[in-house]
């Protein structure tokens, strides 16, 4: 019961935040200098074409009326026409989002998995060489921008060693598995097409790794510090003193409390992944929503800009709610404490 209240409050709060965000986004997309309609149809189109498009996009109405139309349509899942791809932005997003989701998902798995693993190893072998190694690596991982990783990986693994492909989701000769989820790896698995699955994974490695590095380093650091902190806690000493085997303590009684900060950061790192994807997708030519978004920004495609930010906002908020739920599941202190509904 309490969890439900907790989630409900989070959702109500989120709706409010999204509403505010929509205003911010709308303002951003409309203060743009120049005539988006003219930009859309090109310099050589006659004026009447531009005027028609302005009419169609309600650009001649006062700003608040435009906002009303925009919000009304957005609530119906209609973000207008992209000025670049010339079709429904919603369709574009449907098409490009799975690629980013797949990328971010893999980055998330690498981030969480490798980060927690490294952090655990580091904590267990505190002050040994492996710990120092992990610490140095994670520090560098934290301060190095994802696009620098992307460039370095591209140069090293893609070009110099020629191990991995440097662009796209799938090799040119392969055809895509039938779309079920939009995630090529999953679709290939469902279709039983292992060659495609391997190929897609092979394409995923570099961009996912470039995206994950920062978060992974972060996870490793957090895991290490909470875990080595918790290792000295009395309850661990107490559990040991009561004869519970070391294995069980490590795997159960130490891991769970140690994961709480890690998991709460995972949500934020996931969000960071989404923003870093803006550059990484560009570098690896990954046909995702971030590359779509940045192209929209560079081409002043206002409907697409607004939609992409809004979608990312929603994803960000949903991920944060999920993380909060997981954290609440892990940590009764949050779940049961009164008055911490937000």
């Amino acid at each position: 019961m309490k969890l439900i209240t907790f989630i409900t409050r989070r959702i109500i709060h989120s709706v409010f935040v999204l509403f505010g965000l929509s205003i911010v986004i709308f303002v951003i997309s409309r203060v743009m200098p120049g005539d988006p309609a003219r930009m859309a149809v090109g310099a050589r189109a006659p004026q009447w074409v531009v005027d028609n498009l302005r009419e169609q996009m309600h650009l001649n109405e006062p700003l608040y009326v435009q906002y009303y139309y925009w919000l009304r349509d957005a609530l119906h899942g209609d973000f207008g026409i992209s000025l670049v791809t010339r079709r429904q932005v919603a369709d574009d997003i449907k098409e490009f989002f799975p690629a980013t989701f797949e990328l971010a998902l893999f980055a998330g798995v690498i981030m969480g998995g490798a980060g927690i693993f490294l952090g655990t190893v580091s904590a267990r072998h505190k002050d040994k060489w492996i710990d120092n190694f992990v610490r140095v690596i994670s520090y560098l991982g934290v301060v190095t921008p994802a696009f620098v990783f992307a460039i370095l990986f591209l140069l090293l693994f893609g070009m110099t060693l020629n191990w991995m492909p440097t662009m796209g989701r799938i090799s040119a000769g392969l055809s895509r598995p039938p779309v079920v989820t939009g995630l090529i790896t999953v679709d290939a698995l469902l279709a039983g097409d292992f060659a495609t699955l391997l190929d897609a994974l092979w394409h995923l490695i570099l961009p996912a790794l470039a995206l994950a590095m920062g978060g992974m380093a972060q996870e490793a650091r957090i895991t290490r510090s909470t875990m080595s902190d918790n290792l000295t806690k009395d309850y661990i000493a107490s559990e040991r003193s009561l004869g519970i085997p070391e294995k069980v303590i490590m795997r159960k009684f130490l891991l769970k409390p140690s994961l709480i900060p890690t998991v709460s950061i995972l949500g934020l790192d996931f969000a960071a992944t989404l923003s870093n994807a803006f550059l990484v997708e560009l570098i690896f030519n990954w046909p995702g929503i971030s590359r779509y978004g940045i192209n929209a920004m560079l081409r002043k495609d206002l409907n697409a800009i607004a939609a992409v930010i809004l979608i990312l906002g929603v994803v960000f908020i949903v991920v944060n709610i999920l993380v909060d739920i997981v954290v609440a599941q892990l940590d009764p202190r949050i779940r049961l404490a009164p008055g911490r509904g937000e």
Partner: protein, 314 residues
């Protein structure tokens, strides 16, 4: 911390918040020489903090005196020397030259200028309003003022800052100033959040209630009683944020929305050089490493400061 966003930074802040708050509460207010000496001792105990400090000082030095220390200061702007274009690193050009024959090393030194300008200006724009709002909201916790301010921060924090900064930049004319403006617009909520947390605890402290009891004005309480006790976490965060702002700035210029050519923005140099990979790898790799060095420096420094403030009480 994830490379391009500071948010995990605030989370770490959250994680450490309890301790940070406790520390600032017990911080002695007097700032005697002895205290400074002791702080320095604590700071200098960790060699990494010293490395950070030295890196930062070096970068600042190189940036400030770039026209003097750069081997070819004229290469920082519009300059062509096609005879020496795309030279790999050599004795004359330590880090090589770019496709029009400009010395990468000199351009990196000047690139530091833009990076640091970005960091300093953004923090200067962000900290005063961010902190003030945080103080006001924290002091007036539970009132409509608190609600409005904090909900506003929620809205701005609902999207990764790079995304919104990119969007704002893209609708404005791309240049350094607009990039700074965009990042600033995204950044203030972090400070509001941080200070809000501190202030809402501090307002229940004894010294605040006693100031209230003797009839001190709100402004006095907020700025003279509460603010001084928030200084050390703010300071730590600023140092860390210098790194993150520079990082975001470089990301913006990477996509062409920050420093404009021929001015040498570090991110711009990386992006431009990426077109010449892998043969002229030095054009992008060295500026990329330069970004890493700057961010690393500020992070080590920030961590050192945090440890120093945290150790204060021990």
């Amino acid at each position: 911390m994830p490379s391009l966003t500071p948010e995990s930074d605030w989370l770490q802040e959250e994680v450490n918040n309890v301790t940070a708050q406790a520390n600032s509460l017990t911080l002695p207010k007097s700032k005697t020489m002895e205290n400074i000496g002791r702080s320095w001792y604590k700071f200098s105990r960790n060699p990494m903090s010293i490395v950070g400090l030295c890196t930062v000082l070096l970068v600042v030095f190189l940036a400030v005196f770039a026209p003097l220390v750069a081997p070819y200061p004229e290469h920082a702007g519009a300059f062509v020397d096609f005879a020496n274009a795309s030279r790999p690193p050599c004795g004359r050009y330590l880090l090589g030259t770019d496709v029009v024959g400009r010395d990468i090393l000199s351009r990196i030194f000047f690139g530091f200028r833009f990076s640091l300008t970005m960091g300093v200006v953004v923090l200067a724009l962000v900290v005063p309003p961010g902190v003030t709002l945080g103080l006001i909201a924290g002091y007036n916790q539970g009132t409509w003022l608190d609600t409005i301010i904090m909900r506003l921060t929620d809205i701005f924090l609902a999207v990764p800052p790079l995304v919104l900064a990119l969007a704002i930049c893209s609708v404005l004319t791309p240049n350094l100033f607009n990039a700074m403006l965009a990042v600033s617009l995204m950044w203030w909520p972090w400070y509001t959040r941080l200070v809000y947390g501190l202030a809402s605890t501090l307002r229940n402290e004894f010294f605040v209630s006693s100031a209230e009891a003797i009839g001190a004005g709100k402004a006095h309480i907020i700025f003279r009683e509460i603010l001084p006790n928030c200084i050390s976490p703010i300071f730590t965060k600023m140092s860390l944020d210098m790194g993150w702002v520079i990082l975001i700035g470089s990301a913006l210029s990477f996509v062409g929305l920050g420093v404009q050519p021929p001015k040498p923005g570090l991110g711009t140099m990386v992006a431009d050089g990426a077109k010449y990979l892998p043969d002229q790898w030095w054009i992008s790799v060295f500026p990329a490493l330069a970004i890493v060095v700057v961010v690393l420096g500020f992070n080590l420094l920030g961590d050192g400061l945090r440890d120093m403030f945290a150790a204060e009480e021990v």
